[in-house]
């Protein structure tokens, strides 16, 4: 999702990064959020629009972005979903002998 069009296929990594930052720092303005997440401002705004549509975040009149309960739940769902599969993996102890 490098074109900056999250409505077609959002990058879960980017969404997770935004939510994680918001969860750690609470409300932030868009510029600070862009800096914290290491994203280009334009790209961030597009993602915020996509996330706002799904009520993951709310943006107040001063332009501050905050995480909603839905956003937090979506993040926890994502973590739980990944853990459901990755948690089953058992890795053998490999030790190459030459």
């Amino acid at each position: 999702m490098n074109s900056g069009e999250p409505s077609s296929k959002p990058d879960l990594y980017v969404i997770a990064r935004i939510i994680k930052t918001l969860r750690e720092k609470n409300r932030m303005n868009k510029t600070a959020l862009a800096t914290s997440t290491g994203m280009a401002y334009d790209k961030l705004v597009k993602y915020l629009g996509w996330m706002s549509e799904r009520k993951f975040i709310e943006i107040d009149e001063n332009g501050y972005v905050g995480l909603t309960k839905t956003g937090l739940e979506a993040y926890d769902d994502l973590v739980g979903w990944i853990m459901k599969y990755v948690g089953h993996l058992k890795f053998p102890r490999l030790r190459l002998r030459t």
Binding site: Y13, D76, I82, M83, Y85, F91, R95, L96, T98
Partner: protein, 223 residues
């Protein structure tokens, strides 16, 4: 442990395992050179042995000197095997590992990114090639040890016969070949067992990751 930390920890395990797979691939890449070095050392050994027989040095040289020549010849394939192993070891040790650690230190989002961006098909190919190469490597090495043991036995018998002359030959035919194979098997028994277990582990890893990648591709997270 928090679920996020558990995911990161599991991805860390996965990446460490894939680092190991990279080492098996490095071995695969150096396998041809390993085989070539060993083959060359054996060719040199056989050519020199052929020359010794051609010039009938066993009867023209004094017995101790002839034994010394035989021993020196035996060192050639030994050096070849040692050089081959060193080449493989150098290649395996040059594999860069842990390059993902810095990125993974950013927590769950980075772990997620790594999982989603992994080239699974390439990983499966690497595991398959690594597994096969590891088997071939063990096979070549065992065969080389067998040859060396076979000729070393011949040398020991010749030395023994020098000190304790016998009328009839001490042994011949298939016996030295079987005996040397038995000796190599006894010496390498634990090593071969460990290699077998490791190949089985690579098999299991392949199945685990195939299952995981299928689940990952099949399911779409509904936001």
């Amino acid at each position: 442990m928090m679920p996020e930390e558990s995911v990161v920890s599991k991805v860390e395990e996965l990446m460490e395992t894939l680092d190991h797979v990279k080492k098996y691939n490095a071995l695969a890449n150096s396998l041809r050179r390993f085989a070539l070095v060993i083959a060359c050392s054996f060719v040199i050994f056989f050519v020199l042995r052929g020359l010794v027989d051609f010039f009938d040095l066993s009867s023209t040289l004094d017995r101790p000197i002839f034994l010394l020549v035989s021993f020196t010849l035996l060192l050639i394939p030994l050096v070849g095997v040692a050089a081959g192993i060193m080449i493989v070891r150098k290649k395996v040790n040059s594999v860069r590992t842990g390059e993902w650690k810095e990125e993974l230190s950013h927590g769950f989002p980075s772990a997620l990114k790594m999982l989603l961006e992994l080239d699974w098909d390439k990983t499966f190919d690497e595991i398959s090639v690594g597994r096969l190469s590891y088997f071939l490597y063990a096979l070549l090495k065992t065969a080389a040890y067998w040859f060396i043991t076979f000729f070393a036995l011949g040398f020991i018998v010749a030395t023994f016969a020098f000190f304790f002359p016998l009328r009839s030959p001490l042994f011949g035919g298939f016996l030295p070949a079987l005996l040397s194979l038995l000796i190599v098997f006894l010496i390498l028994r634990n090593d071969l067992l460990r290699r077998y277990k490791e190949i089985r582990s690579l098999d299991m890893l392949l199945w685990e990751l195939r299952w995981f990648s299928l689940e990952l591709r099949r399911t779409e997270f509904q936001t």
